[in-house]
Symmetry: C2
Subunit: 696 residues, 2 copies
């Protein structure tokens, strides 16, 4: 039964894949109308035409929904209403239309008969031939269908019609959303907090998954005890639920952060976590699924299975990562060594195609396209965007912005619609309440302990109010939905899907709507302009105080990770950036002299020009959690903020304060950048304006 469901869903996946372009619209094209010279009129033709029209109407429904959403959102933005985000609104409109479709429209089905059926002994194959008096017709497998649904099919044709193939979400709507997330990463804050983000994303999501999984297993046992559950619901199902529901998506919160210019580091933590944990959740859930059937029906989780799952997880994750990064690197090389930037249209098209091909490449190799696309986005932003012409940089950004906007709102309005039009909901109150409690506990056990651990190593601690905000911002969204709808074959999965839908609704509306009050309640500073110079303020500032010597007693592993990070930064800055982009120091100065010819061949002429006025935009990279090694002298800023009394920096690297502009070894470059970045830090001090708290 399970296997069959899987087979059916796999078949479905296969069929939909081709379509990035076409699934979206395959609805439009419908069946190929044989309007050619066919003498014998077929019933099919009229039916096909009708169905084609129906499909157009359905897509129109969604477009009208999106249009309505856009207009209302404009109204909200215009009037500065912040309690409802566009995604929340899209869901509400979706709900309304769902109610209308469900209860408002009489069940008109245009073919009133049960479809003909025929019997075979062999298992189902993807293609079936139908012989009607010597003429052969080709049929393709759509999926298994429950016997009780056969008649339902006819009644609820309209509802069925607005139901999209679940793989559409995965193959068409998610990629632009995820790519855009990667591409629009604000590198500065992201890389500064990379360590924490990765900790939250990997460890945190794993914790959340297991906590929720185990709690839900308890809930399932309870349900079985009180007789609310008769169907199968394995432990692995619970874990799967834990995985899909661990993908947070605080799109609403982030939109408000963006609008109010809330604290940059908190933004980076939330955004980075949500972006990365999407990837983790996908891979986690597919590892669990991959493991599942091997258990020979025990569906219990033993040690070997655990390690197998971990292995699969690592394999898929790193494979996808490599795919994404590789495509990004290839694009960077192509844009560097051609003068494509003279033709922004070609450049944009190439960029788009290469980014899309990551997805296909990963899928073709059996990795996860969505994850690959994420890392491709990050690589493209880090390397390729340096090579693009100014116009293309803007174009690509805007192109993906529009795609992301449309896809996201489409998913959310579809979610609203699905609550009423989806045919196989199983509302189980105990499961739903249990799930709400479980995600709360799971989130808490993710954020607070990890923050505590991270704070041991971080110089600028993640404060209590930040932690509460992160706890609060554990919204669920598009990714959880897409993962949940992907397979709704068994009743366990159906129950999960229904619950996921309700969790998304609740968190988006309640937590999303409560962001602004929460921000002020938690005293989180807003109105911080990251590009703004130091402004007068009545508060006393704390600008990364401390000195290097006191850190030396701290744990060695952290020192090592900082060292590792510095190594990577140096490598990236001295070799990767110069090879892949027009920026960075010329390779001729960073590579050993015997590589001379190769170096000058790989270095772009622009690099020499840039070298003089070197201002690498990524100097922030080096900051990271690595404050432990790179420390700055105590700096006191007066309330009026203009004076910058800068003591010479201490620490093992021996900073020089005079901003030398020549020299080319990696150490010197690093040093120079840290000089300039120190100044930058000063000018960005506004962000940390809270009166110093005791626990810092």
């Amino acid at each position: 039964m399970d296997a069959l469901g899987n087979a059916a869903s796999a078949a479905r996946r296969a069929r939909t894949m081709l379509l990035l372009v076409w699934t979206l619209l395959n609805a439009v094209s419908g069946l190929k109308a044989d309007d050619g010279g066919m003498v014998e009129e077929l019933v099919t033709e009229k039916e096909a035409e009708e169905s084609h029209r129906q499909d157009s109407v359905n897509l129109l429904t969604f477009i009208s929904l999106l249009t309505l959403t856009i207009l209302t959102i404009w109204l909200f933005k215009h009037r500065r209403v912040r309690f409802l985000h566009e995604t929340g609104l899209a869901m509400i409109y979706g709900l309304l239309v769902g109610v209308i479709l469900r209860y408002g429209i009489p069940a008109t089905s245009y073919h009133n008969k049960t479809p003909p059926s025929c019997s075979l002994k062999e298992g189902p194959s993807s293609t079936l031939l139908l012989n009607i008096s010597g003429k052969f017709f080709e049929y393709t497998l759509k999926g298994e269908i429950n016997f009780r649904e056969i008649h339902n099919v006819e009644q609820n044709d309209m509802l069925r019609k607005v139901t999209f193939d679940p793989e559409v979400f995965f193959n068409i709507l998610l990629p632009p959303i995820i790519f855009h997330a990667g591409y629009s990463l604000k590198k500065r804050h992201f890389f500064r907090n990379l360590g924490s983000i990765i900790t939250y994303a990997f460890l945190g999501t794993a914790v959340s998954c297991f906590v929720i999984g185990n709690l839900m297993y308890g809930v399932v046992k309870l349900m079985r005890a009180v007789g609310q559950l008769t169907e199968k619901f394995y432990y692995t199902d619970c874990l799967f639920f834990g995985a899909i529901i661990s993908a947070t998506d605080p799109v609403t919160v982030l939109a408000i952060f963006n609008e109010l210019h809330a604290d940059g580091d908190l933004y980076a933590l939330l955004f980075g976590e949500s972006v990365m944990n999407d990837a983790v959740a996908i891979v986690l859930s597919s590892s669990i699924v991959a493991y599942q059937p091997a258990g020979a029906n025990t569906h219990m989780f033993d040690a070997s299975a655990f390690f197998k799952s971990v292995g699969i997880f690592l394999g898929i994750f790193s494979g996808s990562f490599v795919m994404g990064a590789a495509t990004g690197v290839v694009t960077a090389l192509v844009t560097k060594f051609t003068k494509l930037h003279c033709f922004p249209l070609l450049e944009t098209a190439l960029f788009f195609l290469m980014s899309w091909s990551t997805f296909l490449l990963a899928e073709a190799c059996g990795f996860t396209g969505v994850v690959a696309v994420l890392f491709c986005g990050i690589t493209q932003a880090h390397y390729t965007s340096n090579n693009l012409s100014e116009e293309s940089t803007k174009r690509t950004k805007q192109l993906f912005e529009v795609l992301h906007f449309l896809a996201e709102n489409f998913i959310f309005s579809y979610m609203g619609l699905a609550l009423f039009t989806f045919q196989k909901h199983i509302f189980s109150p105990i499961f739903i309440i249990g799930a709400f409690v479980a995600i709360f506990i799971g989130r808490a056990l993710n954020i607070y302990p990890l923050s505590f651990l991270l704070n041991l190593g971080r110089r600028d601690k993640i404060r209590g109010n930040f932690q509460h905000m992160m706890m609060f911002a554990g919204l669920r969204g598009a990714m959880a939905f897409a993962l949940a709808i992907r397979d709704t074959a068994t009743s366990a999965r159906q129950m999960m899907f229904t619950t996921t839908l309700l969790i998304v609704f609740f968190t988006v509306w309640v937590f999303g709507g409560g962001t602004t009050p929460m921000l002020s309640w938690l005293h989180i500073r807003v109105g911080v302009d990251p590009d703004q110079d130091l402004q007068p303020s009545g508060d006393s500032f704390q600008v990364l105080q401390g000195d290097g010597n006191q850190d030396e007693g701290q744990s060695k592993t952290k020192q090592e990770s900082a060292w590792l990070f510095r190594l990577w930064y140096t490598f990236d800055h001295n070799y990767l950036k110069p090879i892949l982009t027009h920026s960075g120091p010329p390779l001729t100065s960073t590579l050993p002299s015997y590589c001379g010819p190769l170096a000058s061949c790989l270095t772009s002429p622009r690099a020499y020009e840039n070298h003089e006025q070197l201002r690498d935009p990524d100097t922030d990279l080096i900051h990271n959690d690595a404050d432990l090694t790179f420390t700055f002298g105590d700096t006191a800023i007066t309330a009026n903020g203009a004076s910058t009394s800068r003591a010479d920096a201490t620490g093992g690297l021996g900073w020089s304060t005079n901003g030398k502009r020549s020299g080319s070894t990696s150490e010197e470059a690093l040093e120079r950048e840290l000089d300039s970045r120190e100044q930058e830090l000063l000018s960005r001090g506004t962000r940390l304006v809270f009166p110093m708290e005791d626990h810092i």
Copy 2:
């Protein structure tokens, strides 16, 4: 011998390489294959997964093709190679890949058995249920399949895989191309030549369709006579062929025109004709098809059938036109009465959705989406774009530019691929040669007689060299292909498809490549900058010489059409533009006073501001072919172009030469604009630099 040996070894090497890549891909993708470990292993699942991967690989193939095309095109543009356009190149790459797929890869089919078949007595329905020991599976109809193809299917699985659903072209790839054409219309020249364009597009396409249809009927008869044709080939089939092959698509020529800044009016004639005749060809072909089955097997064309077809044609065409224009108007109203322009992202998204909804709306109502999209594009450009924020104007333009670029190149590379991978080619030499002759004759009987007729009424005649260029630029492209591939069920249609493909190849490569030599051979002026002021030149200029009185003797209908056009312009300028956009005079001044409240409610505050410095960008509208009524005094420009000795204009409207800036009646506005446009004409005189010829 050596060469042969080399070639053979190269071929072998290439083949080995390919196999290697193929195996590698399969191997990599196979990694994930058996970690599933399912209890009941199903063939289907593996098959589905394999097919999913296969689909990814196929799409990747196309993306690589496009990427290659982009890179090569950059190289060509970089080196200013003009003999091969990107579309021609895309076809070549497509051909190469087609050859490889066809001959390079061994026919490995992963399911080696003939699909199971079952028999039924009733006609095929769109849905079929398959009962396998109590389990039901749902199948959907894919289409009829020839008995002899059943086994072919298995052998050529790989080739079948790269075959897209023909409706993809119509529903996904054509709309952005056509919309972009409408949206990027250079209004000035387009509306100036509207009359001629419409004549060429409607009358010309009809002439071409009938000429080609009848000639091909002769060819078909000949083929039957010499025993080359045994299958059915009706007269209506011939007409259908005439319709689909009459859609010209001089994309290559226009690209070169654009690059070389060739004459603006010739550009407008060619571009306008090709845009409009696409619409005409679609509707024409579907009218012919719609008529076909009613003929009760006679498939002959009688008078009543003709009028029926004309009726259908007019119905579909005007319906689609209304749909497109209506959506454009709605978008204009929405963008006018909301302040969406503060949020470019929302604005762009709305614009995109509304434009797409036109397509769906038209399809849902049974009209032609592609045609609706064309007129929607024109309306959006004429009205909505005035309301958009500056950023959105750019964004929407660029968005559709990218979509158009990708879709167009995709179609052309698919064409190249299809020559070798399409399964049902019928190469019939007589038919092909006949078709080449027929399209030549059809084009000639379209351009020359119509140009003669138009020249009777036009002031600035369509010169001989322009006519030859238009004759030469009768390329066939995406639209002909999309129409031809839409239905390849009968052997007649297959023959047409093959022929269309060859015609596209030939015209794009030969005529497209010959554009630049042809331009110089025909002495068509290039390097005209439409925005450029008058520049010194050694030629004598001819700036629309003539006076109104001599025209009075000419036919009345033309006067009426000019009058009609002026009426429309006045209406558009005084009422439509002010209602739909922020530009134009305030409604309060154009509407009668009793409409006062309504008028001030509909007039945007910006209109009042604009009113003072009124410079309607569409003043050119009024020029059109209507020179007959709007005449200008003789104007002589010296070779150095600066002096503008302007005699008072003659004619019934009594032009005043002093540029009044106040006043608001339609006549005055018109007058004012004509003043300014007269000056504009002078400054654009560079375009008409040929020494006056005798026949003018």
